[in-house]
């Protein structure tokens, strides 16, 4: 690797959202012609940093220089003009426009009524796709293209606009191994052309296979930048986590009892196939795997949000048919969903209303709401879970993310569930609150509840769970007892194998 003048120079880059600092004084140099990985736990700041470089966010403080010239990247458009392109995991495109149009839209600054040079545009688009070595009919609409192909179009667009710096935010998560190989080939070729690539991933093996240098983020700060060969996996994990796991995660000693939830041959075509497992009382069962492996779909199927087409469910030994979430609730199930804003909170409604949403029968015994009961239950939850707020009548949107999540958990605890499904319960939450959550989860298990914990954070799974189930491409690929669980084992089971498709 040649040491040349840095392409990008970041100095003291800091970003705060609504008073919460998410990125603190980051200095970083990127060289021309390197593939640079950004690593870190969820919320460590790597994506925020990438978005600042790409003009999606503006830094609260700090400076960026490109090719030695200080720049103010005020919007993605400015970034593009400066030769910086961010490629999202699920590319943002115009489904109704053709591939060729998606490639050129936003380029050049001609007049409003200037002609669209269709023939030229199509020819150029074909050339670019050929260059990338992919065969896509550029006259067809984007709608219907695979995600891999959409990424290729995005990369093509970056090249067409002459980008010198291409940022890829977890590009491989939705791809098949074969597609990943193709992508890597192209990325290496881009490096060969002297372009710089920022590669964000949480898959160490990919980073090792592809990248030249890595920068590791933790809690909003940069903790290290080094050539990949100078760091071994353990060192990287240590840097990412920063302190021994045990320090803030401990498995409570709950006595494990009867089978509470039994899933047998659950199948929803296109989402997951033949999933079978059990969760016992007092047991925390982890469900790991990559994003898109079908974990959330399984949870949604169990909870009746989108029921499975075949397979059976047993709750406390009895076969049940759950068609709707309220069937599930009646059977003592609870589900804390992954995306709080979309499927958890009622943003403009009061904290109180949010907390009591799942127990209509208790707050309104004869259909009429008893304010006193409601107030009591809400206040009780706030105290127990230490939810920080000014008033239970506040709209929940005014609370911090962690406290919103606690309120959602409180909602489900009020339903007194025997079986609790938690989907990424600690995503986007401050590290301090995270620890509280781990305690709470442990306590819940001690109380004899069965817990199914879906998480992408391996340390979380390893530290909390009695058993870890792993899914890949809609199938259960491993069941690892706590004693045998290691990051490597989980990852091995999570990465889809090419033959998996054939074996089916």
């Amino acid at each position: 690797m040649t040491e040349s003048a840095p392409l990008l120079l970041a100095r003291g880059v800091t970003k705060a959202f609504a008073g919460v600092t998410v990125l603190r004084d980051v200095d970083l140099d990127l060289h021309k012609g390197e593939i640079h990985a950004l690593l870190g736990e969820n919320g460590a700041g790597k994506s925020t940093f990438a978005k600042i470089v790409a003009g999606v966010h503006r830094p609260t403080r700090g400076k960026l220089s490109l090719n030695g010239r200080q720049v103010d990247i005020s919007s993605p458009l400015v970034a593009q003009k400066l030769g910086v392109t961010l490629i999202h995991q699920e590319p943002i495109s115009f489904p109704d426009l053709s591939v060729a149009e998606n490639l050129v839209l936003g380029q050049g600054e001609q007049g409003w009524f200037s002609r669209v040079p269709w023939a030229e545009m199509t020819r150029e688009a074909r050339r670019q796709m050929d260059q990338l070595g992919v065969s896509i009919d550029v006259t067809k609409p984007m709608r219907g293209l695979s995600i891999a192909d959409q990424q290729m179009v995005e990369i093509g667009r970056a090249l067409a606009s002459g980008s010198r710096l291409i940022i890829m935010d977890e590009p491989t998560a939705p791809l098949t191994p074969k597609e990943v190989d193709t992508l890597f080939g192209i990325v290496r070729r881009l490096r060969g052309e002297g372009r710089t690539i920022i590669f964000i991933s949480h898959r160490l093996e990919e980073v090792r296979a592809l990248c030249d240098r890595v920068t590791i983020f933790r809690d909003g700060s940069k903790v290290a930048t080094d050539a990949i060969e100078n760091l071994d996996d353990a060192e990287i994990i240590r840097l990412m986590i920063g302190r021994p796991l045990k320090e803030y995660m401990h498995k409570h000693n709950a006595s494990i009892g009867e089978v509470a939830l039994e899933v047998e041959g659950l199948t929803l075509p296109g989402r997951f196939q033949d999933v079978s497992f059990q969760v016992r009382r007092g047991e925390i069962v982890g469900l790991g795997g990559l994003v898109g492996a079908g974990r959330t779909d399984v949870a949604c199927a169990i909870f009746g949000i989108q029921p499975a087409e075949s397979g059976s469910l047993k709750v406390n030994g009895k076969t049940v048919d759950i068609r709707q979430p309220d069937d599930a609730i009646a059977l003592g199930l609870a589900f804390v969903p992954e995306d709080r804003a979309v499927s958890g909170i009622f943003r403009t409604l009061s904290v109180e209303q949010n907390i009591t949403a799942a127990i209509p029968g208790r707050i309104a015994p004869r259909g009429f709401i008893r304010r006193a009961i409601e107030k009591l239950l809400a206040a009780d939850s706030v105290r127990k879970l230490r939810i920080r707020l000014a008033s239970v009548n506040q709209p929940i949107g005014e609370l911090s993310g962690g406290n919103q999540q606690k309120a959602i958990l409180a909602r489900w605890l009020l339903a007194e569930p025997g079986i609790l499904i938690l989907d990424e319960p600690t995503r986007g939450i401050d590290i301090g609150v995270k620890a509280e959550f781990y305690d709470i989860i442990g306590e819940l298990a001690e109380q004899g509840r069965a817990i199914l914990l879906i998480s992408s954070e391996l340390p979380e799974l390893l530290a909390l769970c009695d058993r870890i189930l792993v899914m890949a491409e809609g199938r259960l690929t491993a069941e690892i007892p706590r004693a045998e669980a290691t990051q490597e084992k989980v990852m091995q089971a999570a990465v889809p194998r090419q033959q998996a498709g054939i074996a089916a």
């Binding site: 919460v20 979430p325 403009t348 707050i363 609370l399």
Partner: protein, 321 residues
């Protein structure tokens, strides 16, 4: 490190809300109207005038609930016409009165069910669906009744002439309906869940709320209440024609919007719509009794609608982030 957003002071919660705006406008409208015409300020006249809009006002109460649940229904005025035409046509062709009333009410329910089916089962946007059904329902009424008016029997005529403590019956029904629906919306779990569905339908579903059932009930209620309103209109007019309640959807939407119902769902109250109904009646009655051009009334209604949404959005953006 964690900051807690302070709660709004109590006076702020109580006063800074769209209903306050509606109330202030109502007072202002009464003052302006009594300046415009010396004949305006007369309780019995205002009550009689309200009678003319009472049917729309009753439907607007249900519409408020539909909008809070995140949907909209523009078809109730056409529904009023079609169910009233069916009812009148049935009784005119010799079907016994109770059966004819049943036919009218069932027709209303069926129309509500059609809207519900297209919106809930087929997942089509309610605004376009109900523009379509609005055209369809009124068109069917026109096919059934042609453009002749169908008389209803004498004993059925004159609901507005029945006075309860000096208050015309339709106004009494409106006030009672407002009270009952207000109680349901604010005090029952069904009402609570309407707000939750309208605020975040996905989250509501995840919380075990049967969102489709709530919307189904609302659309059916809408159809039924529209049919009742259609028959009240028939009783007031003594006859039914296909153009009964023509253009009423605008007045209903206006009542809901002026009362601070948030067009995107999740916010609004029956009290707001209740006040807005009076506001609208005061405004149009004031202008009519002052012999102002109806053109000015159209203009004022259009401006009111736009101003009401802007103001409502502004108030909500200030009070609930």
């Amino acid at each position: 490190m964690q900051e807690v957003t302070p709660a709004r002071p109590l006076w702020h919660v109580i006063l800074v809300r769209p209903e306050t705006m509606t109330f202030v406008l109502l007072i202002a409208a009464v003052v302006v109207a009594s300046q415009l015409s010396p004949y305006f300020l007369d309780i019995s006249y205002i009550l009689r005038s309200f009678t003319l809009s009472a049917e729309f006002a009753i439907v607007a109460l249900v519409l408020t609930m539909v909008i809070i649940a995140g949907e909209i229904d523009l078809s109730p005025a056409a529904n009023m016409a079609l169910s009233a035409c069916l009812f009148a046509w049935a009784q005119a062709s010799g079907i016994p009165m109770p059966v004819a009333i049943g036919i009218g009410l069932l027709a209303g329910l069926a129309m509500g069910a059609l809207n519900a089916f297209m919106v809930i089962a087929l997942q089509l946007p309610s605004i376009i669906v109900t523009i379509g059904t609005l055209t369809l329902f009124r068109g069917l009424a026109q096919i059934i009744a042609g453009d002749k008016s169908i008389r209803v029997p004498d004993w059925f005529i004159g609901i507005d002439k029945i006075l309860v403590f000096g208050i015309p019956m339709p106004v009494v029904i409106f006030v009672l309906a407002a009270f009952v629906l207000g109680l349901i919306l604010a005090g029952t779990i069904f009402g609570r869940q309407i707000y939750q569905v309208g605020t975040n339908e996905v989250a509501a579903r995840y919380a075990g709320i049967r969102t489709r059932r709530i919307k189904l009930v609302l659309f059916l209620l809408m159809g039924l209440v529209a049919a009742v309103a259609g028959m009240m209109t028939a009783s007031r007019l003594g006859s039914v024609r296909y153009d009964l309640g023509l253009g009423g959807e605008l007045q209903m939407v206006l009542m809901a919007m002026l009362g601070g119902t948030y067009i995107f769902g999740g916010r609004g109250t029956i009290l707001g719509t209740f006040l807005a109904a009076w506001l609208l009646v005061v405004v149009s009655t004031g202008m009519t009794v002052a012999n102002l051009l109806p053109a000015i009334q159209l203009t004022v209604l259009g401006v009111l609608l736009i101003v009401a949404i802007i103001a409502t959005n502004f108030i909500y953006s200030r009070t609930q982030r």
